[in-house]
Point group: C2
Chain length 205, copies 2
Amino acid sequence: MTRKGKDTNTESKILDAARQVFIEKGLAGARMQDIADRAEINKAMLHYYFKNKEMLFELIFRETAGKLFPHFEMLLDSDLGFFDKIRSIVSSYIETMVQNPYLPLFVMNEMNKNPEIGMKNFFEAQKPGFVKKFRASIEVSIQEGLIQPINPLHLIMNMFSMCAFPFIAKPMIKLLTGIEDEQFRNLMDQRKVLVAEFIINSIRK
Amino acid sequence: MTRKGKDTNTESKILDAARQVFIEKGLAGARMQDIADRAEINKAMLHYYFKNKEMLFELIFRETAGKLFPHFEMLLDSDLGFFDKIRSIVSSYIETMVQNPYLPLFVMNEMNKNPEIGMKNFFEAQKPGFVKKFRASIEVSIQEGLIQPINPLHLIMNMFSMCAFPFIAKPMIKLLTGIEDEQFRNLMDQRKVLVAEFIINSIRK
DNA sequence: AGTTTTGTTAACCATTTGGTTAATTTATGA
DNA sequence: TCATAAATTAACCAAATGGTTAACAAAACT
């Protein structure tokens, strides 16, 4: 094995632990010792593999932020009809959140609390451009008379709001409604179709 | 002045500073010294007026969480038509967010990071029940044939998602679209009517 | 085998942090 | 006026925290 120490068991154990801790506690609340403990390694190894807390955090943040907007550009370029594009994006986006429920709150919160770190690493993790593509697609659909006129930005905001917000507000939703994790999960599954139809219903002519 | 030391200049200076710091940095990231500095008082005063960091935080959290759902119950009891209720709630809710843009992220994040503290103090700050009232109101409107059938919970989620999420995602929205604070503010103002009409458009028969 | 590189550890260190204390100043009230 | 209580401060403290070091073990190379 002439590999450059990458993917060592230790290294990935650290990354796994760091992911857990940073996502659970945030940058400010995370403790290096906690990460070392969960990885079952000596704290010094953290600095051996990754220079310091900030470097380790930026790595995890970039990796996580990268999951925020999956293959949407591919989808938007496809020959699906506009409504089916919405259905696909909504469904796949909510599924992403179901798989990574912590995702939206973690990214949004760290971007707010540490704008410099957040923005720098977000750009490295995320190839923007899908917004522009989405906007264009909406404008075309308006021109074609397929949907009612609406500021594309608002439509996009509405869509991602309805997809992501429930995961951010989960504790409050559970508190206000008394539902449990399983029922919450069911609700989110329902939303995969419900949200898309809610949107389409509102904008279709 | 035979008042029991309440509202002392010092005391309210502390509260103002604590509000700033906790909201900006969160519980984990907040520093007592930072609060003392911003209040321009000696750090010991923090412990003189408020036992410790957690007590001070709970106070601020409760106060802040209390703003999350204003006079909705009053509004729901009014004799406004269902659509006008939606218009009123959306508009007043977004205005609340415009006035306190940090509100949703702060509350949601702390409830996630510190479930015990969060939930305990949320209940003390918030008289629930407006959800039940809202659900009932939606069910009646469905029965009356005014709107299409929809799970009230989803409708409520959709509404609050579209109102609150943009404020949580503000840094990302600015990053993805290139807009500045002023334009963001304009967008949010537009949403006061846009979101309500978007919803009504989707559910009306 | 022996030497060099890589991985790992325990102990240590400086700084930060939440919190305390004892002394001092500033009202308050008899 | 004088004693008592309330407010304020500087100095201090112990624990926690991010990070380092020096010694040691395990591979890897020759």
